[in-house]
Symmetry: C2
Subunit: 324 residues, 2 copies
């Protein structure tokens, strides 16, 4: 049997079943699946995250080298902050081909270095090796007094996001499927994949958050994962769609909600907050000048539903998967 025949999620299940036999999963502070791993040390949690970038599969054509470097920081940081942990230190494992240009390599490191500095992360070291293709693995360590899990939502909680969705799907439609967008719109849309950013400001509200997850597998997948983890029903009243994605959808007769739900590589945080704390959270976000958007509410039951014209339509549990 080959990897592509069973897909990423089944492969991960196989890996975890092996690790389980050797008791690696016993007493884990932040058990699989969650956005990061953790160990407890005295009265702190040490959070650990690794995320790998492979040129062929994870880097869109036309992305600048500097932005590739910064993306490795973004990917790892987004998962780390979604657990409420302040990222501290970063290590890289860098694989490059023998004939890789040193100029390109410099740009990658400059991008990595700058973005880490922006987020208050120190790059402490790494490993360099020879590979057939450009591969960058990032390892991030962070610290927190409390961990926000994927589970933890309560009935009545507000469901919210740190931003709007749909531009990454639109970018892939433009770049891979030849869909049309006028130059200016195209530039704005593609910024979502060429210049990704982690919502580091989320840390300022995370004391109020009951559950959360990074949305890089897509909004629909993220909502379903959160709902399943808390064993509760998520009702969505308002899909947070980027205005550029709406304009692009209109131009191409596409459904903007589909673009927003089934994207991926959007480094937004999807989270829940106790209803009576929402205004307080909104106030903090306003003061810190970042957007948070109320999109729904948690109910008893199962599944994720879009409530529209008093009908409830199920939002299916699907998202991006490697090898498929």
């Amino acid at each position: 049997m080959k990897a592509f025949e069973i897909g990423e999620r089944k492969i991960i299940d196989i890996i975890w079943s092996i690790l389980e036999k050797d008791n690696h999963l016993l007493d884990q502070v932040l058990p699989h699946p969650d956005d990061a791993s953790a160990i407890k040390l005295n009265d702190h949690y040490i959070l650990l995250k690794t995320d790998m970038l492979v040129r062929k599969t994870d880097i869109p054509k036309g992305m600048r080298m500097e932005k590739i470097g910064s993306k490795v920081i973004v990917m790892n940081t987004s998962d780390m902050i979604s657990k409420g942990a302040k990222p501290l230190a970063f290590l890289y494992s860098l694989g490059i081909p023998r004939n890789f240009s040193i100029k390109k390599l410099k740009s990658i490191i400059i991008g990595m270095s700058k973005k880490a500095k922006d987020y208050g992360i120190k790059i402490l070291g790494g490993d360099l090796g020879e590979a057939d293709d450009l591969i960058i693995s990032g390892f991030l360590i962070g610290i927190s007094k409390r961990i926000i899990k994927r589970s933890g939502a309560n009935i009545g909680d507000i469901i919210a996001t740190t931003g709007r969705f749909g531009n990454t799907s639109a970018s892939y439609k433009i770049l891979l499927e030849g869909f049309y967008a006028p130059r200016n719109l195209r530039r704005k849309i593609c910024k979502s994949i060429y210049e990704p950013n982690a919502k580091i400001n989320f840390l300022s509200i995370c004391d109020y958050v009951t559950s959360s997850m990074d949305s890089s597998d897509g909004l629909a997948y993220t909502l379903n994962e959160l709902s399943k983890s808390s064993n509760l029903c998520f009702k969505i009243y308002n899909i947070p769609i980027a205005k550029e994605a709406i304009e692009f959808a209109k131009l191409n007769s596409l459904n903007p909600e589909e673009l927003a739900l089934y994207g991926g590589e959007e480094y937004e945080i999807v989270f829940t907050v106790k209803k009576d704390k929402w205004n307080e959270v909104l106030e903090i976000a306003k003061n810190k000048k970042f957007e948070i958007i109320k999109i729904g509410e948690v109910f008893p039951g199962r599944g994720v539903f879009l409530v529209k014209n008093s009908k409830e339509i199920e939002i299916p549990y699907k998202g991006w998967e490697h090898f498929k």
Copy 2:
């Protein structure tokens, strides 16, 4: 300019000069170059290490999948323990081709899982992605009250190793250059590269160690790096050569000392100990049933010298380098 035109060490220098500009290297507890990185947290040090394995360049032909998995643990553990830190938790970043066999993947994970368990390390999680070639990046976190640096040796210290050298060089001569060894000898020699092991018992003596380094870049390189880091002269009276390497050298008219000095991928620890503590250290090693070998002594001055028939021959600063 291309990577192979300047080689691994110069590339690393370029990377570090960029990181330096953004202050990533400021106030580092364990500054570059050393075997691992570290941050201080209350009264503990958190040690961090990443090491990457690429099938094409780092895995000898004929190595079993299970041993490839265990090698990733060994590589990272060896560096971690050489700094005196107890390894705690491990994350992997695994890149595999689309058509990679699931059976092989399982074997890799089984090897990784078992070896981690042997060393008391918990595998907490990881990342899985698509790559052209098998690539495994390991990320290890450990903890210690005190860090053993590469610098730290004093005049009069004993220089020692946790084992004997030469078998990995001999293996590569057999596998890559077609040198001869009878079947039984060949099997024993090649075990050094097919079934590497980290000297985890080193942790039991590390309170007495003044400086140390993992020897995976070769014995000559490691001794020179230690001597340079402490700004002292290392005089070697006894090169610790594996008896199989001696036999192999005799059969092929090779110099066994050369095999021992310029190998690599030997996961031994090279370390220094205060002279008056040597017998105590020897006693601990005897009780814990592992070998440590006295090979020389630290003197004022610079460089590494082999003392032989009252002559001093300089041991040059060379070792394995990627891209060259």
